[in-house]
């Protein structure tokens, strides 16, 4: 892997706590949350009402080349983040590319464009499918998110969609790294996107996984997550190319590990076995020991079981080092942005490595005896971050750990 290192040179984010790298990062370091009563649909039939929506987002302002009115919300969010990431990398869409056939897109999502299926259902239930129009099949299938990003940018390398639920962003970045390492592409835009949806909200409400008041990962009284939406994209390229064009390098992708619990669709393995295997694999591929990790960006949804089992898994892998490594969950501010989450959190890790600062876990008031590690409670911290591990877990038992490290030459 290390013979052809892949580096992060651009970051784009559209999130409940801010759009664009600087606003996003400043708000995370300041501990601001993006929770508010849900505005995009009526939650009165539910006992919970909070969400983490991206407010005031106007896709038409973000989409430059395609017709925004023909794109679903997740595609619009993804395109906005993609433009930001390219500009941040000092690249300007396909104009800066020698060969668009060597530029690709790899995206993850949980639900794709769920608002389109909701629209289908609204017309179906009104017995007015004729009024639905002709674009369901053009707008709904989740692969259109990757295709829309690639078409918007004029990229002609492969456009891959990996709907690996809430670990999808890490899966998409991992795939992009593999394509670059294998020499199949020179530039990849990788990340994740999801749109706020009544389907997702209803499902998590029915699972009892939504917090009524706030998201408090690792707190003794944590009640669950806050569903959210957003998009996170990173520009990835081989180190040699980044150096040759004098690009700013945030971090190197040192490696990743993927595993499957093969245990339960919505509940994690009771001993964190799959999560531990993903972390171990990521460390092994990266050639790192656990005690070399400076920071862990936790999956940290704030549900009672996730945070307990993630803590068990970290202890399994890190042993004594588990007590020394700072772990935080930005979901305490962002909510759970589903398929975008681990991509946004990968951006957090890249920024942490680049800036030597880590965001805290907000709303952590009362420690849980079962969650007894350093969760960076309630305030950001300044410390040397040489290696950051980004953990993500998903429905289907999917586990993905990505490791970023300082690019030291």
């Amino acid at each position: 892997m290390s013979r052809n290192p892949v580096v992060v040179t651009g970051i784009g984010v559209v999130t409940p706590v801010g759009t664009g790298r600087d606003e996003f990062w400043d708000n995370l370091l300041a501990g601001r949350s993006g929770f508010a009563p849900v505005s995009s649909f009526d939650t009165s039939a539910h006992t919970v009402h909070l969400g983490a929506e991206v407010r005031g987002f106007q896709g038409a302002d973000q989409v430059r080349n395609l017709d925004a009115s023909r794109l679903g919300r997740a595609s619009q969010l993804a395109i906005a983040a993609a433009h930001q990431a390219l500009a941040d990398a000092g690249l300007d869409s396909s104009a800066g590319l020698a060969d668009p056939g060597r530029a690709g897109v790899s995206m993850g999502t949980t639900s794709g464009e769920p608002l389109e299926v909701e629209r289908f259902d609204d017309f179906f239930l009104a017995s007015d499918l004729a009024g639905m129009g002709t674009e369901f099949i053009v707008r709904y299938p989740c692969h259109v998110i990757a295709a829309n990003v690639a078409a918007e940018l004029g990229f002609e390398g492969s456009a891959t969609m990996i709907p690996a639920a809430c670990a999808a962003g890490n899966y998409a970045i991992a795939h992009a790294v593999d394509l670059l390492s294998a020499g199949r592409a020179d530039l990849m835009l990788a990340g994740g996107a999801d749109a706020f949806s009544r389907i997702t909200y209803t499902g998590f409400a029915r699972l009892g996984a939504i917090a009524p008041v706030t998201c408090q990962p690792f707190d003794r009284n944590r009640k669950g997550m806050i569903p959210g939406e957003g998009a996170g994209m990173v520009v990835l390229e081989p180190l040699a190319r980044a150096l040759a064009r004098g690009a700013r390098i945030y971090a190197e992708v040192a490696g990743y590990g993927l595993s499957c619990d093969a245990h339960h669709m919505t509940a994690a393995h009771p001993e964190g076995a799959g999560a531990a295997r993903a972390m171990e694999r990521a460390l092994e591929v990266s050639g790192l020991n656990a005690d070399e990790v400076s920071y862990i960006s936790a999956h940290g949804t704030g549900t009672p079981t996730n945070d307990r089992l993630e803590t068990i898994a970290v202890k399994r892998v890190f042993g004594d080092a588990a007590r020394r490594v700072p772990i935080s969950s930005v979901k305490s501010m962002l909510g759970h942005t589903m398929g975008a989450a681990s991509a946004i959190e990968a951006a957090v890790c890249a920024l942490a490595v680049h800036c030597d600062r880590i965001p805290g876990t907000m709303n952590l008031e009362e420690p849980d005896p079962e969650c007894d590690l350093d969760y960076v409670p309630n305030a950001a911290r300044e410390l040397p971050v040489r290696v950051a591990m980004n953990n993500a877990y998903a429905f289907g038992g999917n586990n993905a750990s990505l490791i970023l490290r300082k690019c030291e030459m």
Partner: protein, 438 residues
Amino acid sequence: MANPRRVVITGAGLLSPLGDSPEALHAALLAGRSALGPITLFPTTGLRCTQAGEIPAFDAQALLGDRNFRPLDRISRLVAAAAGKALAASGWRPEMLRQTEVGLVLGTMFCGVHTIAEFDRRNLTRGPSYASPLDFANTVINAAAGQTAIWHDLRGVNSTIAGGAASGVQALAYAVDLLRSGRLDAVLAGGADELCFETFYGFYRAGRLCGSAADGEASGAEVPVPFDARRNGFALAEGAALLMLEEAESAARRGATVLGEIHGHGGAFDPSRGEDGGRAARAVARAIGAALADAGIAADRVGAVSAAADGGVLLDRHEAAGLESVFSGCRALPVTAVKSMLGEPLGASGPLQVIDLLETMRDGALPGIRGLEELDPVFPRAVLATSPEARSVDFSSAPFAVVDAVGFDGQCAALVLGPAGPAMVGHGDGGGGGGGSR
């Protein structure tokens, strides 16, 4: 740089409208049987299209055993059943799966969209308390892959790839890279989609189904015949097909039967998404060219092509043009389009094409293009040879075969299959360019 880790196919499992074993599928395709028939899964009252390729009613209990399969929705049952068949066919027993991490990569366009829509409608009509958490677990697009991993204890990399009708080939390509990079030694890969009202109606309204165009010049005529001048769209179908892919040496160590090898793969994207014929054809050619370069073979070493063509008015034309540019140095290269019989099974299509080509490479018999009467004048007949009936193919001087895949939104992907063993360097032109051999 040559990759020392080669990827072989050691078994296949499938459920399709034309049979649930490679042999049955191949026999049906050689006989020119059509999978299409009146839809039984949902009413088509008032629609101009009424046919599709359904999997005959399948006995989930017979296929999945006595365990509780209630948490699995229909698409998950189809995938779990196909996976069971592929595991059995390749000799992977449950105790082996406990010792070794086997991965699963599933290509799908929609996974459980019917489950998703039903969940939403139940919530809307009866209230959230009637929306079942069990169903919610199946609303994620990786649900079938997750359920199948649980069912068969597949603890390796579990991934779902969505790329329309190219999903299955993209999934196989992704799995090949996992094996080559040493992340796994064995992975089940393939694809699946189920027939349901939501997708059928969606394609219908978009005018993609044969006979669905609003101005239907020949009203009532459904002509899903690939490359035929009269074609007017595809017939929707369903299927689930998985292949066991293994690193060649570890397959040999366990004494596995090897059905063939995936020598290379390639992918490309057409940003015009079919609007610009030249660009669309070039994307098809770039994907195939990259796959040939990845395999390290010239175009004239290809003995047969299984095309993605499904009767789609524009995409069939773009594919023909793309194939022409890749194989321009060839004469009368046999091309088949099995979707003339299967219909368009979306995510399952590529893996079903692979499974049937493996049979063709074994017995030398290539299915025809059913119903082909008037070859589209733009089809490059000097370069590529079609036939409405099955015919024999000679792989002796050109032992490789290409499976082509074209999605609906610009995704192109291709695989190079061949007998197991290092590809010998061919002669002649490198075939299409596109890069990717490094």
